[in-house]
Structures are given as C-alpha cells and as structure tokens.
C-alpha cells in the first residue's frame, strides 16, 4: 500500500504534470530535446491494469478530500485559493489520465519519443546498485539484459542509453552494457574526472571506455548544485511550497480517515498549504501559487544565465562545443519541488526563444555530432552520499550481500542444470529469477541506511530471499507445489516474460 501511494504521488505530482507540459510545448511549437530514464519497474507499474484502476480510485478520494477542503477553508481566503487549486489539479490529473492518455502512460511517453522530443533510456531491471554486484557478472548481465528486453517490449525499439542506478559505476561494467548494444551511460562528476587517463576536456565531453566502445558522460557539478544544494538550491526558496507540511499529518484523523489508509495510518495526501518561508523555522506562511510561479520563472532565467556564462567560459578552452550534463531525479520535479515542472517548462522556452548560446541535446545527439572521443577508463563512483558505496554498504545493510551472492550462485547453477525446464519447473525457475532481482533492488539497502521504513525494507528483503531459497530447495528435492508457485507468481509478478536462462 505504501509503495502504491508513492507511485500515485509520483503520477499526480510529477509524471502527469510533465506530460502536460510536453504537450503544451509541442502545441506551442517549442523545440526541445530531453533524455528521460523510465525504469522497467516504473513502466511495469504504468502498465499494470490493477494499479491503473486503483490510481483512479485514489484520485477520486483525493478529489473528494479537496472538495471538503474547499468548504473547510471557505472563510480563510489565504487557504481557500490553494484548496481550489488542488481540486483543479487533481481533477485535471483524472481527465488527463483517463481521457487524454487512456491510462497508458508508457504509450504517452513513447509518443513524445516518436515525435523526437524525448529520448527514453532505461536502467537495471530492479534498480540494482551494480557496483555491489560486481563479483557476479552473470547477475549484472541479467539485470541489464532483462531491462533491455523490457524496454523493447514497452517502446518497440532498442534502448540507446543506460541510466546507472544511483550513477553507480565500476570499471568493466561497459563490457556488459556493450553486449546489450547500449551506446552510453552517465557517471557522477568524479567518475569521469578521475578517469584514467585523465579526461582531456574534464567533464565537458564524454570519453569512450577502454574495455568496450560505450560512451561515459559526466555530470556537471555546477549546474547540479544550483538545483540540489540544500543551502543554495532553488527548491529551498521561501516562496516555494513546503513539502513537509501536509494535511495528512496536520489534521484530525477522523476527518482524514475516508481519504487515507483504512487503518488510519497517516500518509502524505499531497495537500499542503504552506510555503517554505524559513527553512529553519516551524512557523510557516500560506502558499501563494502565483508568487511561487513568478519565482520559478526567475530561477529558470537564473539557471539559463549561469549556463550561458559557463559555456562562454569553457568554449575558448576547447576545440569542440562544451557539453553540460545536467541530470536530475524526475521526482524532484513536482513531488519534492512542487514548482519543478513549471521551472523546467520556463527553462525550455527560454532556451528556445531568449538566447542563442546553448541548445538542448541528448547524449545520442552529441555522439552523432562528435563520434570521435578520447578513450579512457572512468573511475568507480556513485552519486550517493560520499560519492561511492557507503549508502549501500553499511553496518545497517551489509548483511544482505551474503544472501544475495549465494542466491546469484544458486540461480546460475540452476539455470545451467535445467536448461530446458518445462511446466511447473520452468515457472519455478522464472519465479526464482524474479525473487532474486527483487531482492537485488538498491532501494532496500538505501532505506535500511536512511533509517525510515526500515522494518518494511528488511521484511521485503527477507521475503524475497526466503521465497527464492524455498523454491530452490523444492526444485532440488523434486517437491515443487503448484499452489506455492502460483501464489508467489501472483505476489511478485514483475517481468512476466522473464526467462531464467538469462542466468545460464
């Protein structure tokens, strides 16, 4: 339920607003090119019929709650406008989701790729942090291969780029990406900066990996900081909406009960009435949408101005146009930073019409224009805290790796031992592959380290490990039971087309 809620929040606050902006940009004939990573798990959720129905049900509850809020705040004009805004936005989400996109957001995003404004890339099958799997090449290969297959099914073409989950790279990963015909990936700044040999252009051009002809692009730290920095980043501006003040936690539980979890567990509703005001103070002032949008417009101008200065500073130092790679978590836009989609919209329009110093390109565009690049080996790196693995390799979560590596060994052994399994055995082996991939998700280790929802992450990890070991034991003892396999298939039904032989 909680994961479903996070998914619904992302739909309402990020993905539908982004799609709406892309639509109006095209309607207004604004040229743009963006790269968007849609993970196989997210695409699976977009396509899941049950989740589609539940999202509409969830939106219905939100709309009824917003109606109640309009009444509740009627005598308080400083809040009632915002309540009305939520009602309008939730209703618009429902209209877009049902009438415009017919519940199929994979098709909606695919449409923008087909029209040449988006380049959709993918990541590892279950967002596994690949550096911590490097002792099992087959397991890494399976994560990448299953992801590429899923992409082909969802988007009807081969993926060109690969988003390394958490920007997690280790030397040698490119050979596995090359086998699946990926042409590029992204690393964090120091991943490219510490490359061997040193990169001729710093992070302002890609390198081609030494071990395989795959390009590595490095994140630009300066443009990243202007958005991500806790102290200086745009999302912390006093006029923007305050994320942490949600009526799901502030109002009476009986009032909220019909709109939240049936057991009365408080959740983020998405209805928030305050602006950041002062990040260090709990005293908050009411949110004013128009003022927030004015600031978003200003920040888009500031971002563009800084990038222009950056380009003018860099261009004389290079014999080719400098490239600034500015990747952001999609859910930053709208979910964490409520005005983020509008900022992006303003920025794209300013780039198109208010300057001629820079243009938006995708990594593929760049490689077409500049096919010759320096050969170098990027350095092990991630964009997690500290820049390496310590978020996913810590005393709170390191216990999982003993189990994961054993599962990876057993999966490979089983795939080789039963190369032509049929019927129930085949279903069991496929389910073992699903349980393994789900256990490998980096989210569990991350949650264990970050300290919130720890019980849930531990339980999910243990469940997937135990499910796998039980299926393996039953396979070996020839005691497989159809009801157990069917139950697990139903519980963890990601990648219905998976073929366990990807581990052979």
């Amino acid at each position: 339920m909680l994961e479903e809620n996070w998914f619904y929040e992302a739909l309402t606050e990020t993905y539908l607003p982004l799609l709406a902006h892309f639509t109006t940009l095209l309607d207004d004939r604004v040229p743009f090119r963006l790269t968007l990573s849609l993970s196989p798990t997210l695409c699976s959720m977009f396509s899941d019929v049950l989740l589609q129905e539940r999202y509409l049900w969830h939106l219905g509850k939100l709309i009824r709650l917003a109606e109640k809020e309009i009444d509740r705040t009627a005598r308080h004009p400083e809040f009632s406008k915002t309540a009305k805004m939520y009602y309008d936005r939730f209703s618009e989400c429902r209209r877009l989701y049902e009438e415009v996109y017919a519940r199929d957001l994979v098709a909606a995003f695919r449409g923008f790729q087909d029209r040449g404004v988006l380049e959709i890339i993918t990541c590892s099958a279950t967002h596994a942090f690949l550096p911590n799997m490097q002792s099992s090449e087959r397991a890494v290969r399976a994560q990448i291969s299953v992801s590429a297959d899923a992409y082909r099914r969802f988007f009807g073409c081969d993926p060109k780029g690969f988003w390394l989950p958490e920007c997690g790279y280790y030397p040698g990963l490119e050979t596995i990406l090359d086998k699946e015909d990926f042409r590029y990936f992204f690393v964090d700044t120091h991943g490219l900066l510490f490359a061997d040999p040193r990169p001729d252009y710093g992070v302002f051009a890609p390198v081609i990996c030494k071990e395989a002809p795959v390009a590595a692009f490095g994140r630009d730290a300066e443009s990243s900081r202007s958005v991500w920095s806790a102290d200086e980043g745009y999302p912390g501006h006093p006029s923007y909406r305050e994320f942490y003040r949600d009526i799901g936690f502030d109002l009476d539980i009986d009032y909220l009960r019909p709109h939240i979890d049936p057991l009365g567990i408080r959740i983020q509703t998405g209805i928030k009435y305050y602006r950041v005001t002062d990040r260090k103070s709990p005293d908050k002032k009411p949110y004013e949408r128009l003022e927030a949008l004015r600031i978003a417009d200003e920040h888009a101008g500031d971002f563009l101005s800084n990038r222009g200065q950056q380009i003018r500073r860099l261009a004389p130092l290079m014999d080719r146009p400098p490239l600034i790679v500015a990747p952001y978590d999609a859910e930053l836009f709208g979910h964490w930073w409520y005005e983020g989609p509008e900022w992006l919209n303003f920025l794209i329009r300013k780039i198109a019409f208010e300057q001629d110093t820079l243009s938006l390109v995708t990594a593929s565009d760049y490689l077409e224009r500049h096919p010759e690049n320096q050969r170098s080996e990027p350095s092990f790196s991630s964009w997690g805290e500290g820049g390496f693995s310590k978020m996913w390799l810590h005393e709170s979560n390191d216990w999982i790796y003993r189990h994961l590596s054993r599962m990876e060994e057993l999966m490979t052994e089983s795939a080789r031992r039963y190369p032509e399994a049929e019927g129930l055995a085949r279903r069991a082996l496929n389910q073992m592959a699903r349980e393994l991939m789900l256990a490998e998700s980096s989210d569990w280790a991350f949650i264990m380290k970050s300290g919130t929802m720890v019980n849930y992450a531990v339980r999910r990890t243990r469940e997937h490990i135990a499910n796998f070991l039980r299926l393996h034991e039953d396979m070996n003892k020839n005691t497989l039971e159809e009801d157990l396999v069917a139950y697990l298939e139903s519980c963890n039904n990601i990648f219905p087309e998976i073929d366990y032989r990807v581990y052979a």
Partner: protein, 251 residues
C-alpha cells in the same frame, strides 16, 4: 513572440485546467474545523515508519493473490550456507567490505594436524596491481586478526585506485596457512590522474579539470569513516607473518 509566449504559458498545466468546465461547490457542506490549518511545532517525517502495515499492503503490482499455499514460505533465513567462500566488495577509495564462511571441515582438511586449536584467524590483504599499471607480482600488505566468530569486516586499504584481494587463514608456528582466497577488486581512485604527456586534443585540460571540479564534493579522507566499522588496529597488524612459502615480502 517571446513576450507573447509568457502570457500564454505562465503555467501550462494550469492553462489546461482553465480550459475545462469547473465544478461549482455547495457552501452548505458541513465544516469540520473552524481553524483552517492547525500549526504543529515539528514537521512530520517524510516517510513515517509506522511499523504496522495493512495485511492488504502487500508489495506493489499485486493482483488478487490466490489462497496462501498449504506449506507457506517461512521467512527465517539461514545464518550460514555451509559453503567455503571469502568475498570482497570495494566501499570507497580507502576501504573494503569482506564477508566469509569457512566451515569446520575446510579447516580440518587444510590446516596441518599439529596446528594449535587456538591459532589466531587472520585476513591477509594483498595488493594485486596499481591502477592502470601492468600487473606486478602481488604483495601482501597487512594481516588483520579476526575473531573466529566474526564473519564480516571492513578493511582499510593503503592506496586508492589499486587492486586488492584477501586470504583468510590461520597462523601456525609463525606461518600463515591460507584456507580461502577472495575475488580481486579495485578500490576507487581519489584524485585526478597525473598528465600522461600525450596530447590528444586542442584543449586547456588543466583549466577544464579545474572547472569540472568546482562544487564537487567527494568522499572525505579516512578520518571521515566511522572508526568502529573499520578493523581496530591491533598490535602486529600491518606486520606479516614470516615463513609463508612462495612469497617475497615487500618492506
């Protein structure tokens, strides 16, 4: 055109909403709270750990599951797998994480009969190669005593960017007897590589690297690490057991 689009797109999302027919509300609805939004002194947590999930709150992508099977899965995990292995993962430029399992029969088959039962267990760290360099003869760089009931450890390494491996073994009469060897891993580099002298592009590489590094925050040196997660320095650590056949020790 620029001025025109500003008016058109103040907020594209809201513009779409403005085009549709909006609902008119009844003012007769019951108000539940005279104060629009009570203020709390502390912001709520981002992802509250409620500790209790609905029985229906099973993982995402659930369709209605069939009945629970006759022999459901028990979620107790084995503490050990009764297999012999020693694995290493790089953690950052200065440390590794290693975990292992050495069942009793591996010990009895490998360790000479006259070895004392109380012989200390050791992890021996080998430097296998420098980054990007030719593979030199590997050399052991430190011995780390480990308790026999310990099965994982964080290990400090001397050189960022180098390749390492470990052996688990025991010390017997001043000799190191290896029971298990790990995979090799490279720890990350911690700095920009020195110029190679080969000029490939017309570029001011020094300035470009300076610009690239601006705002960059990377891992701090080892003092930043939590001390209790790394091996505790013990007398003798860093010194190698003598008499191990086949190796010439570095100094």
């Amino acid at each position: 055109m620029v001025a025109e689009y500003r008016h058109q797109i103040l907020n594209a999302f809201e513009k779409q909403m403005a085009t549709k027919k909006r609902r008119v509300f009844s003012a007769a609805s019951r108000r539940t709270d005279s104060h629009p939004h009570p203020v709390k002194s502390v912001s709520p947590p981002l992802r509250p750990d409620t500790g209790k999930l609905s029985a229906a709150a099973k993982p995402l992508l659930h369709h209605e599951p069939p009945p629970v099977p006759r022999r459901p899965v028990r979620h107790e995990l084995p503490a050990m797998y009764n297999e012999t292995y020693l694995r290493v993962l790089p953690r950052d430029p200065y440390s590794l994480f290693t975990y292992w399992e050495i069942p009793g029969d591996t010990v009895s088959k490998t360790v000479p009969e006259n070895t004392e039962a109380s012989s200390p267990a050791l992890l021996r760290l080998y430097e296998v190669a420098a980054r990007g360099g030719r593979k030199p003869r590997e050399k052991p760089v430190s011995d780390i005593p480990v308790g026999k009931q310990i099965f994982s450890q964080y290990i400090r390494v001397p050189e960022p960017g180098h390749r390492y491996r470990l052996e688990y073994g025991t010390a017997s009469s001043g000799r190191f007897v290896a029971l298990c060897s790990s995979n090799e891993v490279a720890v990350p580099a911690a700095q920009v590589q020195k110029p190679s002298g080969k000029k490939r592009a017309q570029a001011d590489t020094k300035k470009l690297i300076d610009f690239s590094a601006r705002s960059l925050a990377i891992a701090a040196p080892p003092s930043d690490f939590t001390a209790d997660m790394l091996e505790t320095p013990v007398p003798g650590a860093g010194q190698l057991m003598t008499g191990y056949p086949g190796l010439t020790y570095g100094t």
